[in-house]
Point group: D4
Chain length 251, copies 8
């Protein structure tokens, strides 16, 4: 149990804080005071890594406001996902913003120096999957991972993937992104020896059903070590990949 | 227009057949008499190839009766699909039957000498897909095709498939059979240079949804030359593969 | 095994190429050098037939660039599918392009002389299915097949189809295209004696569910010799039909 | 407005019934007394036609009890649908019952003399659809319609249907019953000039999804005059067909 | 068999027509000549009733062309469904057109005198269902039926429906149109004693899933005499209702 | 039974009303006269509470007309849901209207003094759910309930919810509104001791399927006391919550 | 905040409990000690009402053990839902158990005296829905509500429901239970003036899809005051109905 | 590139191997010889960890045979998943097998000493999820991970989970397993600071749709760091968790 709670209890003991005041503090901020929930409020963030704002459904003004608050609190790097061109123009007019339109990602404060166990390899089945891939890549990079992009290596031309076996074998985590039949995750999962995060995309037409076909395909992957995130959820994959890439390996 | 019709008309002209009788003949058997539908009743069958009985929903007695009628009409080879063990026992007690329990296929009159352009390669993702594959294989063989079996070459271990590239490249038609993620069709379709018939199977659990996941995956295949048949429809794939394998190439 | 690989090995033997250099060549271009994958990179293309560009998700500039590269490499005929009006205008301003707006298909270099076993018959259930049918027709034609169009012969007026029995019976491959109830594939499959490629279309309303109803209907076809491609996938059907129409008997 | 209500009001007027008693009678049996709902309780039944019991979820004892009550009330003919073999044995031991096991239909009092405008033609796509067809046929017959059975005329061999054009053209109502691709309804609807009631069946496997494929196909029928009932609902189709077959011109 | 065929045969007999010519005539127009398919080409149309054009996917020019052709052939009344405002303006500029924008229906030649057994009652659950109802009503009226409109009588206020019991009881056919929960068909089906045609509408939001909820509800109706057409298919319901309303009752 | 009916019967008895007239009155207005359906026409409305207009599919003119009619009949407060900006401008130009654009709710006559047992707590998972929440809140408030808003307390940061346990524990009814995984209802249901009305929202992307994921999640809630309304149905939840909040406890 | 927490803090102040011990107590039982979560552990239970055991997936021995523990702790009444015949026999051999086989509900300690605001009316569409209704009824009764059963009043014969308008109008809460088209909830919701809890049942066949049709219908109900629980979830409805029936008005 | 390939090339150079023989070796075993695919055949396995056999669809004899082959090759530990009681009896009769019937898992050679970064915490929503959880737990343990079981901590009683915050916070990887609403993954994902692998289970009834509800809920999780595997795929989760728990920093 953390020191805040201990301090409060000791102040109760010493009489500095009345029982009623102590109870009020607990009631109004139960987790801050009790300690174990503090992590909910203040997620442990590696030195220099970005904080994240989910831009969808937020006005340009709201996004700017949140970024400024973060900056005031010493958070120099901010990643904004699902950010519209309009919001980027608004925010970019007020502070330095690196906006990636295809990925709909905005970055404040640049990309930090990469840390972590190794490399996050991001593979896509086609070129249409690249916006989702870039969301994943920029997320992982802004959080402190080195990213290797391996685009357009879909399984209908499996030699494209095989000619990069060294990248596949050398990866720490792989993000496999594909729409349509979504088979990339299985093939990569079978070749690689590390966790594979599969991202179905809504790319396609007809029976791709907005990504459902790829989603089901990935969930049914026979390869071990494969797990799946939501359709088009590049951010989620990049976040998880970075988290795995920063597992604290005991020496 | 065929000769039956011509003969009838000529007999009308000569007065051998009255107008009323001619009209009655046309009415009662419009296609047999008129000619162009005759193919509906008497599909062109290559010398020696088997006729097919769909055994599901037929009693053992009915199946036996149909086989005997065929034999009386000079059809020595009969393929019975979706045939139960019980029906096989009943029929096998009366005439020589070669029953394949896993594929639920019965064969009367044996496998004919293979003809056709080349080889039908049948590949499966796993061992659980083999019953469907055998239904396809026995169908194609009984209709007169040479079949090469390439089982358990699923994409989660793509080297298994690649180590048989010679078979893939040398095939005339390929039947790709897989459940779960069904990605085999895409990978094979990308490697091969011939028609690929994809058969999703109901093998799997959870989000495989009885073959729907594999079906969708195959329909979304980015590889060219791939088409799909119904879930577990080994017969349909074998029949179509044999048909393509017997395309009459003009000299 | 192809001659490139043989030449490399012989140069290793003769000492012209060092072991290390040979290994590097294999590593960097594993399939080109080893041979069996060359077909992946350079699909066997019949004399004069078109190469294909999938236009969806590509900018007009990208499409033009690819076409020019192909032309430089001696590929005179190019088929561009899912090509927007805008892209057609851009490309057409720079080189001679034959654009079919309803099918969203662009052709460079014109249609080659038809080769192949026979005719590809393309039937549609209604007039709304024609854009998909034209995508199929232009694909097959640009790859070197003779195409016969048989439009608006839906099963709710089956006499329209029956009055063209000679076309059905004379076809080498049939492409059956229909939305709504999608029954055309079954009726055609029952009448014809050749492979039938069924294409569900997203035409319709209500319970047609964007082509799902037609797709299911076609997958459940009781007629033999029928297989299915993705909803609205005219290209896939045309490609496969042409492939079957060019089956070659090995010498 | 019917006479019961009039009689009650007149008895109120004459003082034979008090206002309170009249109100109580209305309250306890509001529709019997008021008249317009009487049809709810006592549907107009043609002379001699059968009453119907839905046997599913009823015990053999309950079914017998209901039949006996009907008989006491002068209803000599009773149709029991979805009746198990077990229930049939139990009821059949106590009174004369004609049980059709494949249709799971029991008949008490036999089939009445057929009345109505003309004939109800019942067509099925395959032999597996016959149980549903028999439920429809026996329902229509027991309610007083002449039924013509036209089984196994599926669209994958459309000549089978065409060779019975006279039946199709001469029908008053047609019930089209089919599983799998369910295209029979469209073809029949296109050929016929009378109402067509389509019944999807749960026959099939794989992507037939227990009748959903046939259901969607039938709902999407492009033929005019086609409507659809629930999957396997032979009774509903037979009931409606008989109702249309007994349309009465008001005097 | 009809007289055209007889005449042809007699001319063959008399020598006026050669056997070859007779065969050619049969081949080129197999059904016109043979007779039984003539009804496919020339549906029996009651005196004065409208012919129908399905306007969706047709250009204004095409619609005008078809109407003019019909008029030239003596068809004075034409019903155009799914007709856009734009098409109506174009056609209306050239000939007299009565356009109903909410129903997207255009009428040429006005509504004929009503004939038929009795009245077609069209009931809707809400006011949003009225466009579909009007498509049904105008269809039935233009084909020669008297229509009674009973709108906004949804089951969540069942008294609205009950207060019109006389209309329900006096109907010859009822069309029940509803979105959302679609329960109107069941309630009407339980009250009425005539065929009920249920039309689900795509009205609603959330779990109405574009009419699927209403469709399923209607297919599951426990009331006898209810059948269902496609979502929003007002035309289909109006056509079928009119057909039932014109059953030819033998005297 | 109510007095209207008694009066009618007594007038029949006294001869003031003839039997025929009495029958006509019952027929033409069965429920108004008979009494028990009167509540259908005139729902009991608490003093001062608002009447509701469902604005979707109504023109601005229609909405204004209905409001004016209500006002003429003494209904001072009116709640208009699913009201477009355009309709609000039109109505607001003619009478005093309080329009809430995010909730698409218009209020005429203001919010009444809150009555009821206690408080309706409205919790949302995220900020994007607020429009639905505001529809619920304004509905409950306009009907006479006190509402407490507790927004953005989604389960992926459960401490946000727990820090408001006093509100959860003190609620009379809780409305839990969430999209995406919809887990808020279960967590709130487990913490609270009062009825919880769950509202899935269409907020989200990919596998949220327009609210289906949240809907299913809420229907499967393991917490007792939870029930569900349609996706995005804020009005339904607010109406029901207010109804429960006004349960009339007998003295 | 509750007294346990206060006492602990005061004992810290007085020195009776060390800071470390206090922290340990909080850590090991954070909610019991802190107070606000106590309700999670010890739900407020009205005097005499039953505790509930969800029997599915529990062995007879486990169920017996839980019941005995409850009894030891002074809980005389226990309701066991989803209890198999086998479990009932086992438990019933050891203590007095009232087992209702159709509802799969076991009761220990009998039904308590009914309390609450008024009556819970439970209506079903058909007789097959009765097991679910009985689960709801026994749940509400064992928790202390008076229940009125109104079975087999489905909307396809709406007079059955209308003849019980007094029950509908006099209810405090209504549970509407129906399979197939599930329209009962809407009709009841339109007639009643109290909360209606809708329970879809898995009764039916074909397009009822195991209760999905009824579920969707109920979610789309246009009647106000209706909410829905999971398919076949009689317990959930009974629990919620009882909760509403025991709303406590603050003094 | 590995030494096998180098040796081959050097033997070509030295003339020990002819060019033809070298080409044949490459062709027949392309990946073994070329090197980069060797990892496909021989996955790196940590010292002492188990090899895995997927038991579904394999006969007891086949399983025994595979185990014996593994043992001969020095693989002392084998994990068999989806193993039937019957297979366990057969295999257990021949060699020492530790069989867990609820998880359908068999272990040969016992559990190895745990290695890895830290602990794998496995949490379930209910007791019915335990079989899937045990499959995950035994998988992770047999591969060399320490596992902490935290069962029955579903979100409808969130205090149960919160009282184990120390376990959640101290985990290296968490596997969150739940059926029904599947919200556990989100709550755990929000509380934890490590990768969370979500496993939906097919536990539940009604709208749980065999795990689909939980699956969707988990895919839509708003918490970062959560990914999902197939329904009931305990093995997949355990395998991936162990893989993450053994992340290795490259030297």
């Amino acid at each position: 149990m953390n020191s805040d709670m201990r301090i409060l209890l000791e102040r109760v003991r010493s009489g500095d804080v009345s029982v009623d005041d102590a109870m009020m503090q607990m009631k109004t901020a139960p987790f801050e005071d009790i300690g174990y929930a503090k992590v909910d409020l203040h997620r442990r963030v590696r030195q220099g890594a970005a904080e994240v704002i989910y831009g969808a459904g937020k006005t340009p003004e709201q996004i700017l406001g949140i970024v400024k608050t973060m900056q005031k609190n010493g958070q120099g790097r901010v990643l904004i996902t699902r950010m519209s061109r309009e919001a980027a123009d608004y925010v970019g007019a007020q502070l330095e913003l690196d906006y990636h339109e295809d990925a709909r990602v905005g970055l404040v404060g640049g990309i930090p120096q990469a840390t972590g166990i190794g490399k996050v390899v991001i593979a896509t089945g086609g070129t249409s999957d690249i916006p989702v891939a870039e969301e994943a890549a920029l997320t992982a990079e802004s959080l402190g991972s080195e990213v290797v992009r391996l685009y357009d290596v879909g399984v209908s031309g499996v030699h494209r993937l095989l000619s990069h076996m060294d990248l596949i074998m050398g990866a720490t985590v792989i993000i496999a992104i594909a729409g349509m039949e979504g088979a990339l995750a299985s093939v990569v999962g079978g070749l690689a020896d590390c966790p594979v995060i599969a991202v179905p995309t809504s790319v396609g037409y007809g029976a791709s059903f907005g990504g459902v076909s790829a989603l089901l395909s990935m969930l049914n992957s026979c390869a071990s070590g494969v797990s799946v995130v939501n359709i088009d959820n590049g951010f989620g994959a990049g976040y998880l990949a970075n988290m795995i890439n920063h597992m604290e390996v005991p020496k």
